[in-house]
């Protein structure tokens, strides 16, 4: 099942309450997936990079030494970021099993992400100048309250309300997926990919790492790989329709664009609302109506559709 949503404001200003809007959209689709909720939010580009790191699973090891392990992870991550030569601008360690590092770095981001992930239990959820991925167990209002997302001001966002079917209920298998190691690219997906293992092996041989058993992670890494070879977002997405099998509707975002693709059967839902100042899309119109509170003209894109909007 799963519910996906995307919103992009087209005035280019970047001063929109995108965190609050996405929470409303995802909460309206809670019935499509109450297991976990994830956001990929974009703020106006800043000087440094923002990295969200998961320290441990929310429902993982709950022993007496959990606190000690988490604080050790925090210290190690900080020292690993410094060790590759980055300058830390800020650290947010206020949350239980996740932390946020803001830093400046001229070197290789893959090297930095890999070294951070050498810390036991750590997973880089997102890394970019404007992208922030937040995902955790629970519905949208729970996650938004835990991470203070109502105050997030930005330009565009995607979100996902997950009903786990193919893999576990945990943060590693929650969407959106960051297109490791490419900054500012993220994907949410509703569907199933049937040639998952073929692509996983192919991409692993090309040097990519996978953090989860979730088929959706393939899409993020696949698109990032295509874009790294010089394809545009739209070309990469068109090619994915040929090369990925299964039923899917997925939304991919970069720092300036938001794209959606549907498989050739059109088996998974998507409703689209387009106007001059906003594009909103979701698995159900009821989500769009939470941010555009009036009667609007919407439609379902057809099978094989690939559409990209820029802000």
């Amino acid at each position: 099942m799963c519910g996906i949503a995307g919103i992009i404001y087209r005035d280019g200003g970047g001063q929109h309450e995108v965190g609050r809007d996405m929470t409303r959209m995802l909460q309206a689709m809670k019935h499509r997936g109450p297991d976990s909720t994830g956001y990929a939010l974009y703020r106006p580009e800043a000087d440094g990079y923002v990295m969200h790191v998961k320290l441990a699973e929310a429902n993982g090891h709950q022993g007496f030494d959990r606190e000690e392990m988490l604080s050790r992870s925090r210290r190690e991550i900080e020292s690993h970021v410094r060790a590759v030569g980055a300058t830390i601008l800020g650290l947010d360690t206020s949350r239980d099993h996740a932390m946020t590092v803001t830093f400046n770095h001229d070197g290789d981001l893959k090297e930095l992400a890999d070294y951070v992930e050498d810390v036991r239990g750590a997973e880089v959820l997102s890394l970019g100048r404007s992208l922030e991925i937040i995902k955790d167990l629970g519905d949208a209002e729970t996650v938004a309250a835990d991470y203070g997302l109502d105050a997030f001001i930005g330009t565009h966002a995607i979100g996902h309300a997950r009903m786990a079917t193919e893999s576990d209920v945990d943060i590693a298998n929650a969407h959106p997926y960051w297109a490791y190691p490419f900054p500012d690219v993220a994907v949410v997906h509703n569907g199933q990919l049937t040639n998952y293992f073929q692509w996983k092996r192919r991409l692993e041989r090309a040097g990519h790492r996978f953090q989860s058993e979730c088929d959706s992670e393939i899409i993020a890494v696949y698109l990032a790989e295509r874009m790294a070879q010089g394809d545009s977002l739209e070309d990469s997405m068109r090619r994915s329709l040929e090369e990925l099998d299964g039923v899917f509707t997925y939304i991919c975002v970069t720092d300036h664009a938001l794209g959606v693709a549907k498989d050739e059967l059109g088996a998974k839902p998507l409703v689209l609302y387009e106007s001059d100042d906003i594009v909103a899309l979701a698995s159900e119109e009821i989500a769009i109506r939470k941010v555009v509170d009036r009667e609007i003209e919407t439609y379902d894109p057809y099978e094989g559709a690939v559409m990209v909007w820029t802000r």
């Binding site: 050739e264 059967l265 839902p269 409703v271 159900e284 119109e285 003209e297 919407t298 057809y302 099978e303």
Partner: protein, 264 residues
């Protein structure tokens, strides 16, 4: 239990012994003779439907307008009475399903599975419809003035679906009876695995489905299409192509269970 249901919520049990959260009818409609208007903005789906049933079944109202349905799912389902219902706005999934008798006008868009399993009646949608419009339709007319998604009239067993815009893939998939008039283009897999029934298409067909072939146009087809367009004031019909089942995969009879009894 109060903590689950929230403050001021009464818990009742229905005839099956299942919990019915606050089954009371809001009774907020403005009634004028045999007409009524429901302001649905602040009502839940359950409240809108129970208000609608109360008006139609207990108050004898013949014409109900529902304001601000706000794209909610499952509105206007299971109405088994001749009446007129107007939705002033869009509906979500499963709108007006399982109905028998009403004439429904939707001044907006609908999500997936509108008029699913309609036995008789009319559903007219002024804008677009999602996928699976008229799924398992048994009778009545479903008119969509915009475009529809994929698998329109899947498993259709009767009735007529009229679409003024385009239709997606697998239109008429596994249809067994009834007719569809699609004025625009249709996606791949038109009439895939259909058993019987007729598909009329005005625009381009991306690809025919398995065992769907072009049919021979007769005067009865002209009469039928013109009659439907006249009834719903849709102007003059475009030039249409007719598609039917090739019956290469055809291993079944077309009798309803009740009819089969008579034959046997």
């Amino acid at each position: 239990m109060d903590a689950v249901a929230g403050e001021g919520v009464n818990i009742a049990y229905d005839a099956r012994g299942l919990v019915e959260l606050d089954g009371s009818v809001p009774k907020i409609a403005e009634i004028d003779g045999d007409r009524a208007v429901i302001e649905a903005r602040d009502l839940s789906t359950r409240k809108i439907n129970s208000e609608l049933r109360w008006l139609l079944y207990e108050e004898g109202i013949k014409d109900v307008r529902i304001l601000n349905p706000s794209a909610r799912h499952s509105l206007g389902v299971g109405i088994l009475k001749r009446c007129r219902i107007t939705f002033e706005g869009s509906l979500g999934y499963f709108g007006c399903g399982l109905i028998d008798g009403p004439e429904i006008q939707i001044n907006g868009r609908v999500g997936w599975s509108v008029a699913e399993n309609m036995m008789s009646g009319v559903v007219v949608i002024e804008s677009n419809a999602g996928s699976l419009a008229g799924a398992a339709l048994r009778g009545g007319d479903l008119v969509v003035k915009g475009q529809v998604g994929a698998r329109t009239g899947i498993d259709q067993k009767g009735g007529t679906i009229v679409v003024l815009g385009d239709a997606g893939s697998m239109t008429g998939f596994m249809m067994q009876r009834g007719r569809q008039i699609i004025c625009g283009d249709v996606g791949p897999g038109l009439g895939d695995s259909m058993y019987d029934g007729t598909l009329y298409v005005g625009g381009k067909v991306a690809a025919l489905g398995i065992d769907c072939v072009e049919g021979e146009w007769t005067d009865a087809d002209t009469e039928f299409v013109e009659r439907k367009f006249r009834i719903y004031g849709l102007g003059s019909p475009p030039e249409l192509q007719k598609f039917v089942c090739g019956k290469k995969l055809y291993n079944y009879d077309s009798l309803e269970p009740s009819e089969r009894k008579l034959v046997l």
